[in-house]
């Protein structure tokens, strides 16, 4: 769980994290929103099922993979939070949605 610091910028961007509304300031990433939401983890690693959360926050470790606006496995730390963004945990391997 991360919280705004005292004197932080106003959290003007409202996003949904696992269906719950969370507010972050402009410039925050989707991964930051997940941390503010206080989720126990951001994904289940498909290799061993282990729960994982953001580690490097700079696009190197790929631990922050999340489903963002319906697209799976996006690096949450590299995606800027936008109003109305829907963020969900990445549950293991990508589910194929074939029409």
């Amino acid at each position: 769980m991360f919280r705004p610091r005292p004197d932080s910028r106003e959290a003007t961007i409202a996003v949904e994290v696992e269906g719950r509304t969370v507010r972050v300031p402009a410039g925050a990433s989707a991964a930051a929103a997940v941390l503010v939401a206080g989720l126990a983890s951001i994904r289940d690693n498909p290799a061993d099922g282990g729960t994982r959360a953001p580690y490097c926050m700079m696009g190197i470790c790929f631990e922050c993979l999340a489903e963002i606006d319906g697209v799976p496995n996006r690096q949450g730390c590299m995606v800027a939070a936008r109003p109305g963004m829907r963020i969900r945990r990445q549950r293991g391997a990508r589910s194929l949605a074939i029409e």
Binding site: P46, P72, N73, A93, R94, L96, A97, I98
Partner: protein
Amino acid sequence: MRRFEFIVIGGGLVGTAIGYGLSRAGLTVALVDEGDVAYRASRGNFGLVWVQSKGLGAPHYQRWTRASAAAWPLLASELEARTGIAIGLEQRGGLQLCLSEDELATRRAVMQQMQREAGNFGFDYRMLDPAELAAMLPGLGQAVVGGSWTPYDGHANSLALFHALHQGFAANGGTYLPRSSVTEAFAAPHDFRIEAGGETIGAPAIVLAAGLGNASLAPLFGLSTPVRPQRGQILVTERTTKAWPIPLGSIRQTPEGTILLGSSEEEVGFDTGQNPQVMQKIARRAVLTFPWLAELQIVRAWAALRVMPPDGLPIYDESERFPGAFTANCHSGVTLAGAHANLFAPMVAQGALDPVLAPFSARRFDVPAAA
């Protein structure tokens, strides 16, 4: 000087399969390999155990491939029992899809010819129409006009196979000598010595299975292996849930859930660089085949060099000048692993190649004298 009953030069899929077969028979084997950074076709394969495209115009190759596919289940279960590594073999048939009527007509003709050439040996195949294919393959693209299926095709976790062969070899008491490229060689009938990795080792029999490296080694042992590099590039996607029941000739899903996309053939010499235009062609064909593939992320890609004999068929040979020297060369190290471990290795152990392999000798490349 350390002496062994067999030296196998080359620790890739071909060398380790042969080494595994020899060591399993209780023979002392030295498996000599180069370092970590090398051309290593064995790290760049697709993982198919593929029959339907093999041996057009060369029924002996068709039969050898079929024999290998038939030997594969036994090899896989034995390796799994011996090492605990899951090989993931599936042999429920395979499909080659066609994206134009021309492709389909050509494919049909190829299948018909394969069946004719198989004669009494038999070659079972079916041509499937888009409706039948769509029922089997979710999300099939409109661009697919048909395809060929045979029951003999399949796929396996080729990297697991590679790991298991190495582990099985060690478990059988084999001696693996990595980082030991051959620097000197001495050959005489049933008497071979090589200097590799700063050590000289000797054996009365030797097998050259060094892939592209064979071309320069072979003459030292009275053999000829005119192989050339042929580049192939593969794209690998993120892991997904299970997509298809069987593999295609150029699209398959690994047990981990990643999807491999191929195929390509480039004559660029010893260049393992990647070519975005070729990668684009592979991606385009994949998207035409299954439009939903467009959404998947490509996490990695590679280019590797196939070990390609002049006519594409394997080269198996034994030296006339230096009896006891053998060689195995092919670009289908996964498909032929069954044959290499369970058919070729026993032949070599007995000291002579079975006549069934005679058509694979490099003598076939000699220009015949005027009739």
